[in-house]
């Protein structure tokens, strides 16, 4: 039973991590990263490491994505750039 849960959690982690790499938009990446944090927390719980899972849940799925979102917002808000929420990620000024 535990083995099945571990495999499911591993697949979730691999899927979320791949999605995070394939996404080009940092805002979407942050959201996927949040899901990846959740999947990792599940994996750590199934591997009997609740301490690590708790840290992962708070840092990986809440604080880090929030910091990325805030950074993206600050960086994009430049003169003449508008708010640019739907602009491509690597656009150069």
């Amino acid at each position: 039973m535990t083995d099945v849960l571990i495999v499911v959690a591993l697949l979730l982690v691999a899927g979320a991590a791949t999605a995070a790499v394939l996404n080009r938009d940092p805002v979407r990446q942050a959201l996927v990263l949040s899901f990846l944090g959740l999947a990792l927390a599940l994996l750590f719980t199934f591997l009997q490491a609740p301490d690590v899972a708790l840290s992962q849940l708070a840092v990986g799925s809440a604080v880090t994505p929030l910091m990325i979102l805030l950074t993206v917002r600050k960086v994009r808000r430049r003169p003449g750039d508008g708010d640019g929420a739907d602009q491509r990620a690597g656009r150069e000024r």
Binding site: P50, D51, V63, L66, M67, L70, G82, D83
Partner: protein
Amino acid sequence: MSARVRLWVFLAGAAGFAVLFAVACFGLPAFGTVHHPYGVRAVHASLSHHTANVIASVNFDLRAFDTLGEETILFSAVLGTVVLLRQARDEHRKDPEPAVVHPRVRRFALLMLPLALLVGLYVIAHGQVSPGGGFQGGVVAATALHLLYIAADYRALERVRPLTLYEVGEAAGEAAYVITGLAAVLAGSAFLANVLPFGTFATLSSGGTVPVLNAAVGLEVVSGVVVLLARFLDQAVEIEEPGADDGSPGGAGSGPDNGDDGDDGDDERERA
């Protein structure tokens, strides 16, 4: 160095690492077996010090000096962020406009706020008994405070968040850890040795210095994360670059004093 040479240097390094890593992996004890040389010793030491949570015993008793280093890394990281993200001379502050929050979101967030805060404090206080501890509980409590930003407003968050207090709290948490270690030296033992009475097993007062160090780390982490997020929020919501709200495509070269008049109400208050 040409690209070709660089590639070969990288490949050589990667191959060396792969070989060493494979050898090291084959030298490890098998996954999930009954033979745990370190685990057996750690559990024994943890039980003899009346700490039910063995992880907390390893972190704050057997390897407390290690944790001091980790705490200092966080402290330095937050300090670096505070220095890097401070308001520059040519930037100015602009009060963000209050945003409308959906009543259901507001109700849910206000309901979760005390609950999450309580969970955070519980996890800090029970670090020596159940999974968790200062770091985990600290991050949960600090994140819980920011539910106020989601539920109400940036200004409501600022009201419960006197930043100076949290900056002092961060330093105090770091200092408390070192002082606890020095107190052990004064008591005639080694730095950060567990010198307090061990108490009753699996109760709040068990573990000797473990709950004290947990509380110190908890204070440091709550304050550190709040300060860290406050700096990022400041940058994203409040601090304006010169000409930031100019709006025109050629606005880069405009003067630094045109900021406060161009209140063109673009979605500055868009939620992060």
